[in-house]
């Protein structure tokens, strides 16, 4: 169950609010991208960042000399938003056209992961999520590479989740209008793998499909 603080309480379309942590995790795991707010003197800025979850924390990484990462590492209150667009809802009236989506808004502040071994483990965990087994074959990070990387974590303790997946919501009086009503689904299609132009001849294509088969396509 998610906490329900004043800022994480869903105010608009509250019937779409979800307090199931499994749905929060699913939205984060499928989004891949977090949109993260920082405040600059000239106003707020929203930056898209790769984000991955391990247990009850979300991680982001970037270069140690990145202005954004340094700003986030200061521990200011911030917000990460994850959104999956699932399709259009076509109603019989213009007014009731809408969308299916799943979104999660996470509040809190980032903490830097400084231990080199822990950084290595969490970064490799990210690669394994994308391409299971790959860390056995690639060159793992050197100390110098790990030191050049900033890794930040944020706990999933304060979040709100919205899921819009309902039926077409037409006015009763419009139900007889002879126009098609329904949904245009949007799904993510992953693969097939495409080799690098620099790939040597004779290297077999790996099978990473267990990471994503049936996860997006069959939903």
């Amino acid at each position: 169950m998610l906490s329900n603080t004043p800022r994480s309480k869903v105010k608009k379309a509250a019937h779409k609010a979800q307090d199931n942590v499994d749905i929060l995790y699913q939205v984060i795991d499928h989004s891949l991208i977090a949109h993260i707010a920082i405040n600059e003197a000239s106003g707020p800025v929203v930056i898209p960042m790769l984000a991955w979850r391990v247990e009850d924390k979300v991680y982001i990484h970037g270069a140690n000399n990145s202005r954004l990462m340094r700003n986030l590492a200061k521990g200011h209150q911030t917000c990460l938003t994850f959104t999956l667009f699932d399709g259009w809802v076509l109603a019989r009236s213009a007014f009731h056209h809408s969308a299916h989506y799943r979104s999660a808004v996470v509040f809190g502040s980032f903490t830097s992961v400084v231990d080199r071994g822990e950084k290595d483990r969490l970064l490799n965990h990210f690669i394994e999520q994308i391409a299971p087994g790959r860390c056995e074959d690639i060159r793992l990070s050197s100390d110098k590479e790990l030191d050049a990387t900033m890794l930040l974590s944020i706990p999933l303790t304060e979040a709100s989740v919205k899921v819009s997946c309902g039926e077409v919501n037409d006015d009763q009086a419009d139900l007889d209008i002879p126009v098609w009503a329904g949904f245009i689904p949007y799904k993510t299609k992953i693969g097939p793998l495409k080799p690098s132009a620099t790939l040597a001849i004779g290297i077999d294509e790996p099978d990473y499909s267990s990471a994503y088969m049936g996860r997006w396509d069959s939903e």
Copy 2:
């Protein structure tokens, strides 16, 4: 060409910056969702909103009594970010793993569109973008519905665009490692249409595919 103000100048990975307005428009048109920042007393909040472009402006809409819409209508400086995730880049070293993406960060402030006829035209334009020809068949909005809807516009005058679509960027010394290197592409699959459970028998399925065929799948 896009303006290059201090806040819209790309600082990190500047070689990925684009100043072509066509790419900005493409990223916005394909994203559908804008992640918009507002500042609350407790910190910044990032809200996902449907967003569509007509010429050189982006529009969002919501209920007239929405706290978010009222906040944005005040004309504070804000930021809208649009992101398309195009896939993973699998390198021979953990460190050089990365992603293909396209993103646009738009700065400015919203203005409310108050003229009822103009609101009607712009909202119908949005429906026509999703489902060409549909406005001839549906019930168009009543004055009451238009009055209950807030429509906000922001001009596309200050924006930065980043496109990451390059080759695997391995260190020279890693090129001989016998591991597969390349890309896992992510694409959006749209359709097929799914009828509402309330759809009467005998209503033909429309063909809206001209709005999206070849636009996402074939990229």
